[in-house]
Amino acid sequence: MEEKMGGSNGEDSGEDQFPVGMRVLAVDDDPICLKILANLLCKCQYQVTTTNQAIIALKMLRENKNRYDLVISDVNMPDMDGFKLLELVGLEMDLPVIMLSAHSDTKLVMKGITHGACDYLLKPVRIEELKNIWQHVVRRKKPDSKDELAAPNHDKARGGTGEAGQTWVACSSDQKVNKKRKDQSEDEEEETEDNGRENEDSSCQKKPRVVWSVDLHRKFVAAVNQLGLGDQAVPKKILDLMNVEGLTRENVASHLQKYRLYLRRLSSVATQQANMVVALGSRGPSHLRTGSLDGFGDFRSFTGPGRFSSASLPSYQSRGTFGRLNSSAALTLSGISSGVIQPGNSVNGLRKIQPVVFPANQNQNGVLFQGITASIELNQLSQTKSTNHFGEYNCVDERNVFRISSSFPDARVVVGSSSNSLSTASGNALVLQGNTQQVQCSAAFENLPSFGMTSLNRESNDLSVRGSSNCLEHGRCSENWQGTVQLSNFPPSNEQLPSNNLQESIPWRNSSPSNGCIALSSMASSAFLGDSRADMLCKAGLNNSYSHVDSRVSASGSMMDQSNAVSSNTNDVSLFSHLNGEAPFAVWLSEGDKSSFDTDLRSNDNFLFLQSKPQNGFSQNNFESLEDIMSPVFKLEQNNETAFMDGGFGFDVAYPLGSCM
């Protein structure tokens, strides 16, 4: 049975007076709660449609996707599980779904989050809570309509927002952004302080902010290179050379300024990187050394083939063990120039490994880190910490994502992990590591978990990329991104992946102790791709699957090269389909390589992927590769210029946090 209250729906008549007139679909098999809920919603001036059967609700939703703005659904329903409905709605219609239950069990809330719920309310529902549910709609809409950035807010982790540990960044920024969006006039094109955390299509003139997407940045760099970094690179000329419509001189000017800072930073770490490179025996240390454009150019050429990862990967692959990772990491470092692969914490509690490995790596990577900047160190620090966290994680299937970021002063590493363990309900732990100097990333990451979790919990081992994307979305991440490259399998709907932000490493905690967690995300591969991935810390669990990881890495690496936009959904799906149940693997696959990638992914391994953000120095090198990697990310989320620059550009230490925000 269904009823309609509050007038007809199906139109955006209430758009201007939003949230009045928001169309809500309420599903609950309990007639009392349904009636009360409907009345409460009417009182909030929403347009309500009710039904007591999930099947009917789905039918109604499928009939017309634009008929509703929000769905509120009970958890326990006789005909269909509330979580299932939640998943389906999220998949098919991408509507925000709020869960409702009399049971406030943490596990259930977590499940809701991981399945993608925007919020989790407890019965009895109070009107105050219902008055705010429109925010979920705005949050989803905003990216779609404006930035293509799905900014699932941490809020999404419902009820459990607490669990996700939404960081201020995510939340506040998001809210601020929301507010900002609403207040901004359409023709504003001024750049905000940081080049906008939001990702915006730079070509869209209405957007107030310019988002420096990978492509855009590439053009920019090309133009700068052409002009020479010296006196000749003036914004006006660059603008002319770039020949992008909708870009103003001011945009270019500020971007140029940031770029210059970035380069300066690179040069400072060049020597260290060089050392590291030598130690690693990697090639292309030159790029590391040069902080100048030339270096960059080298880098680019170096990474030209973009198969940095492939170069390093083979070496990787040869190593079956994690320990080799270090060396391979070294290789990658050379290639990536900053990829540090850290053994992820395996379920077995490889936690110790992390610290151990880390030092091992430090020789190779250490140099990098040290050289790079404090940020790197921080990254390491964070990573260690994160690894520690991982340790904790491993044990718990449904551990919540812990926020490492909070522990780091620089919020370097934000590890968001969804606590679902693979073993259980295909819980995916998302480990996002954003080594960003800025705290923001951490914030972003935090959000990630919530978000990511939702998608992670797909039955088919989805990794909740979304979650990560959420975090990333928080825009700032891009700023902070510096270090973090995230590979996440974001379902397309999730767009959130801030390209810069992160590659998320999704730690998988397998119930089976045998599987270690290997954080290997495409990020790692991307790291490989990017020279300056030095920052990338991949935590790879030592486990049998290491080889798989290798293959994966290579696959991902190649994929990264592709710099295809990642259609997360498809990728994810394909990716996951190959994965054995247990190992959720967050990999950002470019479409092109999907098939190859897929084959690679068959492992039950859990991957913990921690990626530190490449430091500036590295970022430079990684520029190219990063771009590749990021491009998919970018697609999902337009990165700010800074974000993209992960190459380190954006994330200079000097970069003020605030600017990111």
């Binding site: 309990d30 007639p31 009392i32 709660c33 009345n39 409460l40 009970d74 009399a102 109070r126």
Partner: protein
């Protein structure tokens, strides 16, 4: 446990359904009229059930209101109801004038069904499926808390805890308490609705009324 009928009534006593105040048959009315203290007025004065003419009910409106407030404060004070019930009352307005009574009636209907199910499950000799019981319990708890029945909800919590531990005896005792609480609440709410209905009547009294 004494022998249990299949459909054991949940309440020891069932409050009578609310009746209309006008006398049920003319004979009774005539009788009443004979003893009607107001017959001197020469008109057929309809009498309310309370024996007062309807128009006098208007005078009793204050008393009715006092009665209602007293009952409500009693219920709140005892923790039988909580502020969710108040929210329910606030939802009642011109567009949905009988909202509270409608919702509560549905609640009664559903709850009795659920309580019956729970009892039959628990009394079953081969009872083992706590999950199924948990589903019923969950729904009962959800609706009770939505109504604002705080005490019932708390008992449900205890019930759920016992169920989590697979403690059948605990569940049974919790169910008994639940049934008792439910009966009590039902009667009180019925009383409340009766008063409210009389208030409505008192407010709508017109003089003179002709049958």
């Amino acid at each position: 446990m004494s022998k249990v009928k299949q459909q054991k009534p949940l309440c020891v006593w069932n409050p009578k359904p609310l009746k209309r105040v006008k006398p049920t048959n003319k004979k009774r009315l005539r009788e009443r009229e004979k003893t009607n203290p107001f017959s001197f007025l020469g008109q057929l004065i309809p009498l309310a059930k309370t024996g007062l003419p309807l128009w006098m009910l208007g005078l009793a409106a204050d008393r009715l209101r006092a009665d209602m407030n007293r009952l409500l404060s009693f219920l709140f004070h005892q923790g039988i109801l909580d502020e969710q019930f108040l929210q329910l009352q606030q939802l009642q307005d011109e567009t949905s004038p009988n909202f509270v009574s409608e919702v509560v009636n549905i609640y009664f209907h559903e709850s009795e069904k659920l309580l019956r199910n729970l009892r039959s499950l628990l009394m079953d000799r081969e009872f083992s499926d706590y999950n199924k019981m948990g589903i019923h319990l969950n729904q009962f708890m959800g609706s009770s808390s939505s109504i604002g029945a705080k005490r019932i909800r708390n008992v449900c919590l205890a019930f759920r805890a016992a169920s989590d531990q697979n403690n059948r005896a605990g569940c049974l005792s919790a169910l008994e308490v639940l049934e008792h609480e439910y009966c009590f609440l039902k009667n009180k709410l019925h009383e409340l609705f009766q008063i409210q209905q009389q208030r409505v009547l008192a407010a709508g009294v017109r003089y003179p009324m002709q049958h």
